[in-house]
Point group: C2
Chain length 553, copies 2
Amino acid sequence: MNPTLATDTADSAEATASVTPEMTPITAVYRIRCAPNAVEQVCQNIAYEQTVEVPPALAEADDRIRRWVGRIDSIQPIPGVPDGFEARISYDHLLAGGQLPQLLNLLFGNTSLQKNVSLSDVDFPEELLRNFRGPQFGVEGLRRLLGVHGRPLLATALKPVGLSIPELAALAHEFALGGGDLVKDDHNLHDATFGAFQERIARCHEGVCRANAQTGRNTLYLPNLMVPVEQLERYLKYALSLGIRGVLVSPFIAGLDVIRSLAERYSTLVMAHPTFAGGYCVEPKQGIETGLLLGKLFRLIGADISIFPNYGGRFSFSQADCQSITRHLRTPLGQLSAAWPAPAGGMRIDNLPQMSRQYGADAIFLIGGALLSHSGSLKNSTREFLKRIESQFSTRLVEPDTGFASACEVPRSAAASTNASPVVLTHLSHSPATGAWEGRPIAAYKACQSLPFRDVVRHELIGPFGEQTDFDLRYFAIAPGGFSSLEKHAHTHAVICVRGQGTLAVGDEIVQLKAMDVAYVPPMHVHQLRNESTEPFGFFCIVDHERDRPQAP
Amino acid sequence: MNPTLATDTADSAEATASVTPEMTPITAVYRIRCAPNAVEQVCQNIAYEQTVEVPPALAEADDRIRRWVGRIDSIQPIPGVPDGFEARISYDHLLAGGQLPQLLNLLFGNTSLQKNVSLSDVDFPEELLRNFRGPQFGVEGLRRLLGVHGRPLLATALKPVGLSIPELAALAHEFALGGGDLVKDDHNLHDATFGAFQERIARCHEGVCRANAQTGRNTLYLPNLMVPVEQLERYLKYALSLGIRGVLVSPFIAGLDVIRSLAERYSTLVMAHPTFAGGYCVEPKQGIETGLLLGKLFRLIGADISIFPNYGGRFSFSQADCQSITRHLRTPLGQLSAAWPAPAGGMRIDNLPQMSRQYGADAIFLIGGALLSHSGSLKNSTREFLKRIESQFSTRLVEPDTGFASACEVPRSAAASTNASPVVLTHLSHSPATGAWEGRPIAAYKACQSLPFRDVVRHELIGPFGEQTDFDLRYFAIAPGGFSSLEKHAHTHAVICVRGQGTLAVGDEIVQLKAMDVAYVPPMHVHQLRNESTEPFGFFCIVDHERDRPQAP
C-alpha cells in the first residue's frame, strides 16, 4: 500500500496502472434529509467533497484520483423520518493519515457546511485506532486511584466566581471530608494571572489533601485549564507538580487536537467539559450526533470522563442523547479503555435511585447546586448523597492507589520559579577560588531517599531565573567517589565535561568523559554519572526547561 | 478595578462592601426563539449561566457574586420573525481576562447547548481588542507583498489528492505564469510524512518562484497546515525557511486559539478555511451568526483572509451570509486591520463582473474547477480570468515587496535536518590536537554578506543530529582579532567561556568573559562576541532548537 498521497514522478506511470488497492475503510454514517430522488446525488457529492473535491468526470478519468473518492456502501430510509436517509460512505483510512485533524476534515470538513446532513456515527478500523491512546485512566484506572468499586462516583464543582480562595478551598475540603470522590473547578472559574492560579489551586488541593489525611480516602481535585494554548502546559505542569492527578478541559474551546496532544503526553486524568460544543449537537438535522461527539470523539482524544447536561436538567438534552453518550463511552473501541459518563444537572437526593438505574455503577454524578443547597453543611450533604447512592449498589472501598503522588523531587525554589520576570544581559563571573558563580547560590542536589546520590553539588545557572530559554544550564561537581542518582526520565541531557574526568553510564554502556568531551543521554534511558577518579569531576549539564520528573530505574 | 476574580481572604470583607464598580462591558447579542412571556426568563438564565452558574437567590445575597452576573441591556422582538427576539447582554470584560478561550466560553459556552438561542453579534471594548493582534498583513499588507492595487485578487487551489508532486508544482507554476495572485494547497491535500511535505511544498514553491522570476510579479504559494498540534510549528517553520510567506489553516479543526497563537507569534500570512465550522453556522436558530463566526472571529484570531462558500455555489450560504462575512472583515474593529473576504465556488468567467460589483476591489476570488476546466492551459485561463476582473477596475501594479524573502541565512545542511531519526547515547570525544569533536564536522559560520564576521569556526555538537532536545549545543572558536556578526534575534543565547578570553557586547553593555564564565543574551538585543586578545577564544553557545533567523541590527 502506497502511503504517499501525492505520487512521485518516477512512480506515476506505474501507479496509474496498478492502483485501486484494497482499502482499509473508515466508514462514516450520515443522516440526510432530502427528496428520495435526490439522495443518491447528495451522497455522491459527499463522497467527492470529502476527498478529491473535483468534478466526477475529472476523477473518473484518472485511477490515481478515483481511488481516493469515498465509496457509497448503502443508503437506507430512516423509519418514521419523512425524507430521512441514512447513508454509509467509506473512505480509505490513509486519507486520515492516523491524525485527528485530517480525520475530522475527512469525516465532516466541508460537508459540515451543507444543510440537512449530519454525521451520526463512524466505524473506525483498528489501523486508525492504534494511533490514538484514548483514556489513560478510564473506568478501571480512576477506580484504582480512588479505591472505590461497585458504585457510581460523586463529583461536585467549585463555584461561583466571586468567592474568595479560602471559601473555595473550604468547599473542596468539606466535600472531601464528606467522602465525595471528585471536586472540579467550575469551567467559568479562572484567574487573572498565573500567580493567582497557583495560589488558588494550591489552596484548594491542600484543602482536599488535609481532608484525605483525615478520612484515609483519596478525593481528587481537578483544576480548570482554560487558558491560552501557549500557557496550557505551564498550567498543567504546575498542577501536576503539586501532586494534582487530573484537570478539567474544554475540548471545543481549546481544540480537540490540543486536548488529544495533552492527554497523550502527560500523566493526567482528563475530565472533558462540553462548553461551546452546542453548535455541533443541538440541532439533529445538522452537526454531529451527540453520542458520537461527546462519547466516541471525546474518548478518542483521551477523555477519561465526559461531562454532559443530564436529561431533565436545565438543558435540552434528551434521555436518548444521554444514553447514546454513555453507550459510546463504554462500547468496545479497539484498544481504547472505557471512559466515564458524567451527567450533570437534574439530579437530586430523591431521584438518585432512578439515576443509578439509568446509568449503572460506572458513572459519575456531577452535582452542584442540589448538593450545596441540601443542608447547611456540605460535608453532611455529601455524606447523605453518597449514602443514598450506596444504598443502590454493593460498594467496595479499598486502599486508594496514591503511588504517583509520592514520586519525589523537591519542588522548585521560589527563585527558580518559572514565574520570574524576564531578565536582560546576565554575566555570571566564575570564581576559581570558590568554584561558584556570582549571584547563583549552590543548590542541594535532589534530596530524595528513593533516588540516592553521593557528594554532588549543583549550581543552577541559566533558565530558572527569568531567562527566556527553552533549556536550563546547570553545573555539577562530583567529589571523588561520588555519584549522581541512578534514574531515568523522558527529557534528555547534554553534558560537557570541563573539569577532571568522570564516568557516564547509560543502560549497559559506559563512557569515560575527559575535559571538553560532550555526551548526550537519550530519553528514558537509566543513567548515572560517577567520579571514580581521585580528582574533582565537573561538568555542565543542559536540560529542557520544561521537563518531567526523574523516576527510579 | 480588582483584576482577580477569586477575592483574597484579607480583602473579602472590604470587597463585599465596595464592589459593583463600573464595568467595561463586552456586549453579546443573542437571538432567541420562545414565547413572548418566556423571553425575560430565558435572558436571565443566559446572564447567570454564562457567568456565575448558580441560582439567582444565591448570587443576589452576595455582592461579590452578583457583580459578575450578566446585565440584560435590552430585549426586542425581531420584525418578521414570529416568537423571535434579540437580546443584548453585557458582561464585565474582566471575565474574559483578555484571553480567547475564556472569551468564547463567556459569550457562548454552555448557552451553545441550549436550543433556540444563537449568538448573532458581539461588541468588543477597546480594552479587550488591545489583547489581540488581529491580521498581521490584512488588506494593505497583502497588497504590498503582491504589488497589486485597485482590483480583487485571483486565487486558486492545488488539487486533487492523487496528483504527483511534479503535476501539482506544474499547476502552481502555470497559475503564477498566468499572473494569478495566490495559489494554495487544497485543504484536503496532506502528506504521509514530514519528509513528503517538505518535498511537496519545496517543489510547488519553487514552481511559483521560477514563474515569478519570469514575470517579475510575486505570486504567493500557501501550503496547507493540517497536522497534529505538536507538529504545527515544525511544518510552519519549514515553510517559512523556504521563503514561503503564508499558510492555509483550518481554525475549527486546529482550534481557534491555536491559530490565534500561531498568527501572533510568526511572521506569516494566514488564510483561514471554514472546514468543520458548519456546526456553528448552518442552522440560524442555533450556533453563531455566519459573519460573526467567519468574519469577526476569524479576524480577531489573526486571519488575513477568510475563505467561505460563495452564494450560488454548491453550498447553501446565502448572499446575505456572504455580505455579513465581508462586512465583519472590513468594518472598523479597534486597532485591528481589515481582512480579505475570499468567496469560493460559484464563480465563472461570465459572472466575474457581477461578483466584482458584489464584493468590490478588496476581495479574493478563489476559483478552482472553473479555472482548471476553462481551457487546456491554466496559464491562459488565469490570464483570461484576470483580464476579465481587470476590466471592471483600475488596476495598478507596482514593485512587489519581497524584502522579507531575501533575509539571509544559509539553510540547514542535510545532516542538520530536524528530520533526522532519534539517536541514543552519543559520546563526542574532544581532540585537543585538532580542537574538534569526533563525528562532528566543523561548520562554516553563517556565510552571509549582510551580517559580516571574521575568523569564526562553528562546531555543531548536539541538537541537529536527531537528539530529542529543545536546545542546540554548539562550540565557537574565534581567532585573535576575530568577531561574530553583529546581529539580533528573538531567541536567546547562553554562553560558556572555556578557552582564553573574549568580549561580549550586548547593546551598550560590554562584559569580559574568562574561562568558566557564563553569560545570557536576552531576546532582540543586538550583540557580538569578539576576541580582542592574542590567544584563541573558545566558548560553548546554547540556543533554542526552534529559533528565528538572525537579523541585522
